[in-house]
């Protein structure tokens, strides 16, 4: 098989599943549009705030801690993505590769401990 002619045929069922799942979700919503009744008025359409009229703009007062969590998540996600090929090819990796991953994990964990000590996870 030459490059440029390669077709990943074993992914065809995955494609079909993705299309079927998306069509199922969209179709259910669109069919629902025709079946249900619709009698909106102003008070019904207001955002829920325990019955009071809404005050203020949503989106204010939002803690920076969420961003810290997001960054830690990105770093650990990349780490996990490096872990997978290492774990799968474990039998073919020499001792250097083994200790390299140990040092890598140690570095990530040191960074994590630093964040923990500085109270980023409160």
């Amino acid at each position: 098989m030459n490059p440029g002619e390669y077709i990943p045929t074993n992914y065809l069922p995955v494609l079909i599943t993705i299309i079927a799942a998306t069509l199922f979700g969209l179709g259910a919503l669109i069919v629902g549009e025709f079946l249900r009744l619709r009698r909106p008025y102003r008070d019904k359409l207001e955002p829920y705030e325990s019955g009071n009229p809404p005050v203020g703009d949503p989106g204010e007062r939002f803690s920076i801690r969420f961003y810290v969590i997001a960054v830690l998540f990105v770093v650990f996600d990349v780490e996990a993505v490096f872990l997978y090929p290492w774990a799968v090819a474990f039998g073919q990796i020499g001792i250097v590769g083994f200790w390299a991953m140990m040092i890598f994990l140690l570095l990530i964990f040191l960074g994590f401990l630093y964040d923990w000590r500085r109270g980023a996870l409160q």
């Binding site: 030459n2 990943p8 774990a87 090819a89 390299a100 109270g119």
Partner: protein
Amino acid sequence: MLPQLFFAYFAVMILGLALVVITRRNMVHAVVWMLLMFVHIGGLYLFLNAEFFAVIQVIVYAGAVLVMFLFVVLLLNLREEQGLPIFIRGVQGRVIIGLILLLTLVSAAGQASKGQGGRFSIDYIQRQTHIKVLGSVLFNDYVYPFLIMGFILFVPMVAVVVLAIRRSNGSS
């Protein structure tokens, strides 16, 4: 015939979605279109026999980096930016420079020819599975770049605490 059709679909979708992304006013919409673009790029990687990249394109780019963008967009609450013009002044010159560069690079890319074939043929990768081949190459031949990668990933963890969390307790 089938490979060309699939390539044409992916190329049109990727370029079209990229154009949609850079012209959105609402950044949350831009992020959603970008998500669709990343999924299509992942599909293109499948045709390059790089299934592991197709997956990490979704796990890392779509699942992590773009989520971080979404968090920042929502964190900064950019509603007051909505009324302002999308582009900066003097766009035309920059677009023209970009188009000239595009013509140059496309003509250069059209003349590229591929070099010698290596030992990682499609059949070999199919037999060994892509993840295993990539893992053994990465951790046997590229150990030092990988360790440097560890230091690079160390940086954002420190930076986010130093920059985002104020030294005095109680604020933020």
